[in-house]
């Protein structure tokens, strides 16, 4: 028989004026299992709490019900109080007499009756409560950052600066992501490389960061605080320790006609290459698909040229296993290629280019040293037409969403064109100008007012080639849809930003959700924007949805803050209100039949299975197994399990049935 104490609060007049508090206390005394009941003016005050503590000792109570305000208000207060008196925190429950009773009903006998019922519910529950201990999950105090764009760089630096180890995995041969490709950045027009390069160098030199480029995540298992990750470090055929970055090998390679992806195909590179001059790390890689040697022909000119014998044609991929406590996904985006636009020529007109290609032309380190030229004949274009919303906001053939960055970079492009060639004409076809951000609209206005960029409100229906010009057929909806035809030298598509290739596979490996477009899904769109649906895995940057650099950096720092908060402790304390699959003696072992329905329903992937074996290792039964480190206590599995093999601590079937039966 339990010895429970019931404490009924007046909350001054708040409860006392409507509910007959003394009557409640009096009636409680007669409830089975209740050893003590009393009422008090303000239970949450220090004297009030002391009363509870004293009563526990005096009456040797083994459970407590506080009948007061909402548990959402003072449950922690009273749980702390009972632990001070030596009880387990979970042996205390709160009946909500204020928000759910005195404040919402008139003074009446029925109101007092309801108050008594509410206490009885909790009394019956507490009787069946079991002492629970907070769950302690040990934490591996290091983090993995996937993706080495500005998002990954920022997150890695912030985490590393807080004293934790970071492993950074970048799949291309060098850091930098798209930001490395940009010329100047809105709204300040500072040089992208100039502000990025120091950070890339910081990453490579940071004592807490291990940088793995040309590498990809192969496999992930585990859970928050305890991830085991296998990373494939692809063979670059160059020994990173021996290579000095002298570049001799690059000069000697006879294969010169490989489209340079860093320059978005606007120039050619060799089979052995460094993506760009400031690359970090500055170590070449052999592109085996184009290298003569790997295509079965005779060549070893690079190896011959290398003064340190760093070229290793027999290098193999390496699998590196690491353990980390947290993961940041920062895998960025890609842009829609021109071949995706039927009415703009399916990518067959060389002078119809993407915004990213324009960036390479405008970049001082690009294929034309910053002179805007056009691909077909290398001439400087006089008339350039920019098409906003190319593929974005196009439910029929593109994506439904707004790519968010293109209004701004289109204004930037038009401006850069004007700055570099004052005689050039720049036209922008747009639907809306979306320039919400600090100094953003001012930036667009400057393009229009000071640089004379002509904005035309309307979409373009078609582009075709005639006499070496691109005929752009649009309409001006501000003139009632009047057709507009512009003879352009070059057309720049502000093409939609899409989830990066490989994003889906990675999300699967990590068990994180994706949105209908394929971007990584956040846990809550407003209040948990840098967390994923998997605990311990965070996200940053354009892998969540298209975004610009300021937003990316802000979010990366936010993700880093979440990671450091997690890694700042050696253990993760978690509420013990988790589900558990029951165990029984052999031969039954458990009520669980191993149907694993629960596994598919758990929103947190907390359920796996385990095999019960005999001494000889023969499997006797497979049963579900819940990882308390992952379980969040939602109870979905409990209500799903047909054999009632699962129960939820704190909300067990027994407890809830008892509550119902008390009514």
């Amino acid at each position: 028989m339990s010895r429970l104490g019931v404490f009924v609060c007046h909350c001054g007049e708040n409860i006392g004026a409507t509910v007959d508090v003394t009557e409640v206390a009096e009636r409680c005394k007669h409830m089975p299992g209740v050893a003590h009941a009393e009422d008090y003016k303000y239970l949450c005050s220090n004297p009030g709490q002391n009363k509870i503590k004293q009563a526990i000792e005096e009456h040797q109570l083994d459970g407590v019900v506080v009948a007061a305000c909402s548990p959402r208000m003072h449950e922690p207060t009273f749980r702390r109080a009972v632990t001070d008196a030596g009880l387990n925190a979970y042996m205390c429950e709160v009946a909500n007499l204020r928000e759910h009773c005195s404040w919402v009903h008139e003074k009446a006998d029925s109101t007092t009756e309801k108050a008594i019922d509410l206490v009885r519910l909790q009394v019956e529950k507490v009787k069946r409560n079991k002492p629970l201990d907070t769950i302690q999950v040990p934490i591996t105090r290091s983090a993995l950052v996937i993706g080495g764009g500005i998002a990954g760089i920022q997150a890695a630096l912030d985490i590393a600066d807080s004293g934790h180890k970071v492993i950074m995995v970048e799949r291309s041969p060098a850091l930098g992501g798209h930001m490395a490709q940009l010329s100047e950045t809105f709204p300040t027009l500072d040089c992208s490389q100039c502000i990025l390069t120091p950070r890339m160098v910081d990453v490579s030199r940071h004592p807490n960061i291990t940088l793995l480029t040309y590498s990809e995540v192969e496999h992930v298992e585990g859970f928050i605080g305890n991830f085991k990750v296998a990373i494939r470090k692809r063979a670059r055929m160059v020994d990173e320790d021996l290579c000095t970055g002298c570049g001799e090998c690059l000069q000697k390679c006879p294969t010169k006609n490989v489209a340079d992806s860093f320059n978005e195909g606007l120039s050619m590179r060799r089979a052995i290459y460094v993506p760009f001059a400031q690359a970090v790390p500055n170590i070449p890689v052999i592109d085996t698909e184009n290298c003569r040697k790997f295509q079965g022909k005779k060549c070893d000119r690079c190896a011959k040229a290398c003064p340190t014998k760093a070229i290793k044609f027999d290098q193999k991929d390496q699998i590196i296993n690491v353990e980390v406590g947290a993961i940041v996904v920062a895998t960025g985006y890609q842009v829609m290629g021109t071949e995706r636009f039927p009415e703009y020529g399916y990518g067959t007109y060389p002078d119809v280019i993407t915004g990213l290609q324009f960036e390479r032309y405008a970049s001082a380190s690009g294929p034309t040293q910053g002179v805007i030229k056009r691909p077909s004949d290398g001439k400087e274009p006089e008339t350039v037409v920019f098409l906003a919303c190319s593929g974005s906001r196009d439910a029929a053939k593109g994506v439904k969403y707004c790519s968010k960055i293109c209004c701004m970079y289109t204004a930037k492009h038009a401006m850069l064109l004007k700055h570099k060639n004052h005689h050039a004409k720049a036209y922008v076809f747009y639907m809306d100008i979306r320039s919400a951000g600090k100094n953003y609209d001012e930036f667009v206005r400057r393009a229009i007012e000071e640089d004379g960029v002509k904005y035309i409100r309307g979409r373009v229906s078609r582009i075709y080639e005639e006499d070496g010009k691109l005929i752009v057929k649009g309409a001006d909806t501000l003139l009632g849809g009047e057709p507009v035809e512009i003879k352009a030298d070059m057309v720049v598509l502000a093409s939609a930003a899409l989830p990066n290739h490989g994003q889906g596979e990675l999300a699967q490996k990590l068990h994180v959700g994706t949105d209908p477009y394929g971007f990584v899904a956040e846990a809550h769109p407003k209040l948990r924007p840098v967390e994923t649906t998997s605990a311990g895995i965070f996200l940053a940057g354009a892998c969540q949805s298209p975004r610009d650099i300021p937003e990316t950096v802000g979010q990366a720092s936010a993700a880093a803050a979440k990671v450091t908060a997690l890694l700042s402790r050696s253990h993760l304390a978690r509420e013990p209100l988790v589900a558990e699959v029951n165990r029984k003696p052999a031969p039954q072992f458990s009520d669980c039949t191993g149907c694993l329905l629960c596994e598919t329903a758990c929103p947190y992937q907390a359920i796996g299975h385990e095999e019960i074996k005999d001494r000889n290792g023969n499997v006797l039964k497979t049963v579900a197994k819940i990882n308390p480190g992952l379980c969040q206590g939602c109870g979905t599995c409990v209500s799903l399990c047909r054999t009632k093999a699962i129960d939820l601590h704190g909300y067990s079937n027994e407890q809830i049935f008892a509550e119902i039966m008390s009514l």
Binding site: V460, S461, G474
Partner: protein
């Protein structure tokens, strides 16, 4: 989902009828102008397709009338260029068809549409009678209806010389079947 007062669209508006009959949801048009940009006759219309749609979006009797009285709706070629490129897949030619029917029904059809109407009448008359088109007969009929007696006279004789006109109609054998079909769908015996 319940549709309550704040959704109450004017049930009599043209936009509403269009949605009912053709299934085209005009409110989906976000006025990007891509349709007008590619339309081969936008330049000849007093208001290009996107503006026609814009007026209809208001669901106002005045604007509805302005659309029905316009010549634009008669100039549409049904080339489907607009529809095939519209980011919102608005089937503009289908709307144009509907608007013509509606304009005729309400007696608001643009005067210049008379020729087109006469042409369609002559054409259908020929099909109803023979089950197939008899071009000479149709042309004669059209000329009588419109009074354009001498238009294309030289062309006609050239066609004849090239063996491209049949003097006598080649109809279907089962003329009764076709007549019945006309009767059932139009109530018109023509």
């Amino acid at each position: 989902m319940s549709s309550i007062s704040h959704h109450d669209r004017q049930t009599t508006s043209l936009a509403n009828k269009i949605q009912e009959v053709t299934g085209v949801a005009l409110q989906n048009c976000y006025q990007c102008g891509k349709c007008a940009a590619g339309c081969p006759v936008a330049g000849d219309m007093e208001m290009p397709s996107c503006q026609v749609l814009r007026l209809l979006q208001y669901e106002s009797p005045d604007y509805d009338r302005r659309v029905l009285e316009s010549e634009s709706i008669w100039l549409c070629l049904s080339c489907d260029t607009c529809h095939s490129r519209c980011p919102q897949t608005i089937n503009t030619p289908k709307v144009m068809y509907f608007l013509r029917e509606e304009a005729v029904r309400q007696g608001l059809a643009h005067p210049k549409s008379k020729d087109a109407q006469a042409f369609h009448k002559a054409f259908l008359g020929s099909v109803a009678r023979h089950g197939r088109l008899h071009e000479i007969g149709m042309l004669m009929n059209y000329k009588v209806r419109t009074g354009h007696l001498f238009q294309d006279m030289t062309l006609g004789s050239k066609l004849y010389q090239k063996g491209k006109l049949e003097l006598l109609p080649h109809g279907v054998k089962d003329k009764a079947a076709v007549k019945k079909l006309f009767k059932r769908t139009t109530g018109n015996k023509e």
